[in-house]
């Protein structure tokens, strides 16, 4: 409880003394840990700002179908590679024209290098190709927004599914112990031992190309559910193991014993006693998993094992841009920046959340 140090605002230890000071002498009210955490979070402007950025990105991308076509007048998978943009009275081809002429001995001369897409127009052409075109004449801005939509959808859903299953498995394993614990732990071990990236790519490729048509479930190849399921599956041990460890620690505490003595059944105990106590871990881990899920989706789509063409995702856009990297770096750079902003804001917020939920984390070293 060292309070030495020069700046007071670093310390957010909610001692009784501090609360008393706040309450200005009146009777001390006990506050639940959640309220205290909320307070701490509210004081963390950086974390709140990050959360705002993240939510902004999510809203802008998820709502893309509502407004994008009114701005760019181009569909997300419609390209116009043979077309032109009109600006300042000039007609500029969207994809550079190229061609060759031949010499008598069969060698050829390049008259113009073709295929290079038009760069960012920034509104000069009235909303079309604001960020330029990609190599098939499609609008980069439109695809960035729709791609974000796909990426975020996959990331958030996968994280949610993963969290749900991890909680259930962790609770079952730790509460019942014995055989169920053994099976579930081995299940975690198995997925954990499988080189994650390889598993994700292998599953993603096998399923994306052919779809999943077994046991009565029919998912078409190229459906977004495939990368979602793959990512959710792959991250289960990342959540499941720590949660299981936590529940194990909690399981033998007195309050569980007390609940059992009162006649509460396993379900009740798991959901009303154990679950709330791991909730803060779940929250923090959830933000971490969302960030990782987004990055994993980008990796999978980059390698062709995630979202299938012609649909965009931030990962596929990076891959598509790599072939024209030297002549039109925007195509790969933009999605990368979008990802960095999204994931960064999530990480900063996650940090802030973790600090808010665990006050002992902030202490200074004295010199």
């Amino acid at each position: 409880m060292a309070t030495t140090g020069t700046t007071q605002e670093e310390f957010t230890l909610d001692t009784a003394a501090e609360l008393a000071a706040e309450a200005g002498g009146s009777p001390i009210e006990g506050k639940s840990p959640w309220v205290l955490a909320g307070r701490r979070l509210r004081r963390n402007y950086v974390a709140l700002a990050s959360l705002a950025v993240f939510l902004l990105v999510v809203i802008v991308c998820m709502c893309a179908p509502l407004y994008v076509s009114h701005v760019s007048h181009i569909g997300v998978i419609d390209g116009n590679p043979s077309g032109f943009v009109h600006e300042n009275g000039k007609k500029i081809p969207i994809l550079a024209q190229g061609g060759v002429t031949f010499n008598k001995n069969g060698s050829a001369n390049l008259t113009a290098g073709g295929g290079i897409p038009i760069g960012p127009q920034w509104g000069a052409s009235g909303g079309a190709y604001i960020f330029g075109a990609d190599e098939l004449g499609r609008d980069v801005g439109t695809r960035l927004l729709y791609g974000g939509r796909n990426t975020l959808q996959i990331g958030l859903t996968a994280a949610a599914i993963c969290t749900l299953f991890s909680i259930i498995l962790a609770l079952l394993a730790a509460y019942f112990g014995g055989a169920s614990d053994w099976i579930i732990s081995r299940f975690f071990d198995l997925i954990w031992a499988f080189p994650v990236v390889l598993l994700g790519i292998a599953l993603g490729t096998a399923l994306s190309i052919n779809g999943f048509h077994h046991w009565g479930i029919n998912i078409a190849a190229g459906s977004l559910w495939i990368p979602t399921a793959v990512i959710a599956f792959v991250f289960i041990p990342y959540l499941g193991r720590p949660l299981r460890g936590q529940v194990l620690a909690l399981r033998n505490r007195e309050f569980v014993e007390a609940a059992t003595a009162q006649g509460a059944g396993p379900l009740r105990i798991m959901f009303t006693e154990l679950l709330p106590n791991i909730a803060s871990s779940v929250l923090v881990l959830f933000t971490l998993i969302v960030a990782n899920a987004i990055l994993t989706e980008v990796g999978l789509s980059f390698l062709g094992a995630g979202v299938q063409p012609p649909h965009p995702s931030w990962g596929t856009m990076i891959a598509e841009g790599q072939d024209v990297l030297s002549s039109d770096p925007w195509l790969s750079v933009l999605p990368g920046i979008a990802i960095a902003i999204t994931v960064l804001s999530l990480n900063v917020f996650g940090d802030g959340l973790r600090d808010a939920l665990d006050p002992r984390a902030k202490v200074r070293i004295e010199h």
Partner: protein, 317 residues
């Protein structure tokens, strides 16, 4: 200790068998369709397909096929469906590139991760801490593929300069200077993610350890801050890092650097796996997966042993 090891080895074997079964399931059963037709390669005629089926035992039942494949792998006889090359020897050929990439990057990320984590913990709250934390957070928010591409473009393809080589691997034995030069960009790409992560983990470990009783005791005994930091705090904080490092290192060695290898065209094990996946070529995939899983389970055990050794409170069970 011996009993622990024996039990662990036994467990490892079971896990590896299970992993191979899962791989098999993914690539044989899930895609469906006629495997023999798919892999009959360039020379398929109805007679040829039949003979391939017989040769690969595709007529047998599913479990027998899996067993055969594992047996072939273990005896070093597993060959690719696509071009008949021996899987184990191809993996061996990929090892120099993968090991170069992973060991080099690991050295960098461990060194800088610890450095960065310590500095930001010591100067916690001050500008340097905030700056480092910001950089670290940015580092773990960048997609590896994108970072690799941008580095390639900026430093090798003329974005800023063309000093660096544009991907590719030069064996250490043939030209050490070029080997080093070619590896710099890939090392950095792979390390950035981990430096950020380790820095932050170490920082929070150190800040957590500061509060421990034994530190207070040391301070009461009159030890200087520097001595406390290095001899006691750091040592205690590094223990979880050991765990983390062991598993991360195993993961990248085992083919987890697939994206870095693909972006920089390093013909390592990860690259080999990626090509096999594209061609839906099962034997190499089986080989690489087991190779990777083997690293992970072995390192898992090593890490547990090391952990028990370093932290006297832990006992191996």
């Amino acid at each position: 200790m011996v009993a622990f090891l024996i039990r662990r080895v036994f467990g490892m074997i079971i896990v590896l068998l299970a992993v191979s079964f899962l791989t098999y399931l993914i690539f044989f059963k899930i895609p469906g369709g006629d495997v023999a037709g798919r892999i009959a390669g360039k020379t398929a005629t109805p007679q040829n397909i039949a003979s391939i089926k017989a040769k690969l035992g595709l007529n047998h039942n599913f479990v027998v096929q899996w067993y055969d494949m594992v047996k072939q792998l273990v005896t070093g006889n597993l060959v690719s469906y696509y071009d008949g090359t021996n899987v184990v020897s191809q993996i061996k050929q990929g090892i120099p590139a993968t090991f170069s990439l992973c060991i080099g990057a690991a050295v960098i990320w461990l060194f800088f991760g610890i450095l960065v984590g310590t500095i930001s913990a010591v100067y916690a709250g001050r500008f340097s801490d905030r700056a480092i934390t910001a950089l670290a957070l940015i580092g773990i928010s960048l997609p590896v593929a994108w970072l690799g591409l941008i580095l390639r473009y900026v430093f090798a393809e003329g974005g800023l300069t063309t000093i660096f080589p544009d991907g590719g691997y030069v064996p250490l034995t043939s030209d050490p200077a070029q080997w080093f030069w070619h590896m710099l960009l890939p090392w950095f790409t792979l390390a950035v993610l981990f430096i950020g992560c380790y820095g932050r983990v170490l920082r929070s470990n150190i800040l957590g350890t500061i509060n421990e009783d034994f530190v207070r005791t040391a301070r009461a005994k009159g030890l200087s801050s520097r001595q406390i930091l290095v001899k006691h705090v750091l040592r205690a904080s590094l223990i979880p890092i050991v765990t983390l490092f062991g598993l991360d290192f195993a993961a990248v060695l085992g083919g987890g650097a697939i994206i870095t290898e693909t972006v920089f065209v390093l013909h390592g094990v990860g690259y080999y796996a990626y090509q096999a996946i594209q061609k839906q070529d099962l034997p190499p995939l089986m080989g690489v997966t087991l190779y990777g899983a083997a690293f992970i389970v072995v390192f898992s055990t090593l890490v547990d042993v090391a952990y028990a050794y370093l932290d006297p409170r832990i006992r191996l069970t």
